[in-house]
Symmetry: C2
DNA sequence: GTGTATTGGTCAACCAACTTGACTACTTTG
DNA sequence: CAAAGTAGTCAAGTTGGTTGACCAATACAC
């Protein structure tokens, strides 16, 4: 495998990732959620099950806890999350999605499904599934964070 | 295909893209090129064949021409590119790679090849090739730009 | 149990990458 | 050749992050 092949793969991967992110973002906006950035989506993913602490979020997003705290401030201001006292640790605060936050998360899922459907049209379902499985093996437990 | 599948695919894709970018960047730094950011790499790709104008670069990178101009300033200061008069249009200036810029580009290619090699170890060469082909079909001529 | 170190979170000041707006120099169009 | 458009830069402002200092609560050592 030559260097040029590696570059072609890299370029395709980055283009695909960029395009996907853009499509999801557009889909979310089209569903009426304004003022959300892609980074918020990654926060939502982490918050979705049971909430998370600011420090958890910071680790997950690959940023400082101060930056994560600012991001949470912004999401609180926009009504997508709220800070609740942490049961069992009075220092910590649990950041959880509001109903609006859940709605936005569902919108993002729909938008992602829509984007992937376009890929299914090109590659067929089994190929897309194979693509997913290979990516999962190559980026196991990969932290989802800004590409740079 | 369910929404959750789409999310898994999206997450894997973004994680892979992020990881790849990081590895390439680390590889470039390890080869002695300091003060380069991933965004510079995307500029290099565009400049590599014959150079490009600032406006070209801006379009390619998805930013304003002012921002592209600042980026070029920085690369000039670091010795990776230089501005030359544009043959045939006295308004424009052709931004071209210096020898150092070419060396950095080659380093990035090596780093990318190295990162992809790690994938070959996991998936095998034919699978990686298949991955590349599928991504190319899904993101044809995709503009390479920050994922978000 | 009490003192020390660690952890979760915030406030404040700063920085870097990018934006918008205003402008000059050259080119194209009619 | 005048009017409109294009390439590029300068300057100022915004934004999303950083580093550093700090407080409150918890965990650990003895």
């Amino acid at each position: 495998m030559q260097n040029s092949d590696a570059m072609a793969l890299s370029a395709a991967l980055l283009a695909a990732a960029g395009g996907l992110t853009q499509r999801i973002h557009e889909g979310v906006v089209a569903r009426g959620f304004e003022g959300v950035r892609p980074a918020h989506g990654f926060a939502f993913v982490r918050l979705a099950p049971d909430g998370a602490t600011v420090t958890d979020l910071a680790t997950h997003l690959g940023m400082t806890k101060q930056a994560a705290s600012q991001l949470v401030d912004e999401l609180v201001r926009k009504g997508y999350v709220e800070r609740r006292p942490h049961p069992g640790d009075a220092r910590a605060r649990l950041v959880v999605l509001t109903e609006s936050g859940w709605a936005c998360t569902r919108a993002a899922e729909e938008a992602a499904a829509e984007a992937v459907r376009a890929w299914v049209d090109v590659l067929g379902e089994s190929e897309v599934r194979a693509l997913r499985d290979r990516l999962l093996r190559v980026a196991p437990g990969g932290r989802i964070r800004p590409a740079w």
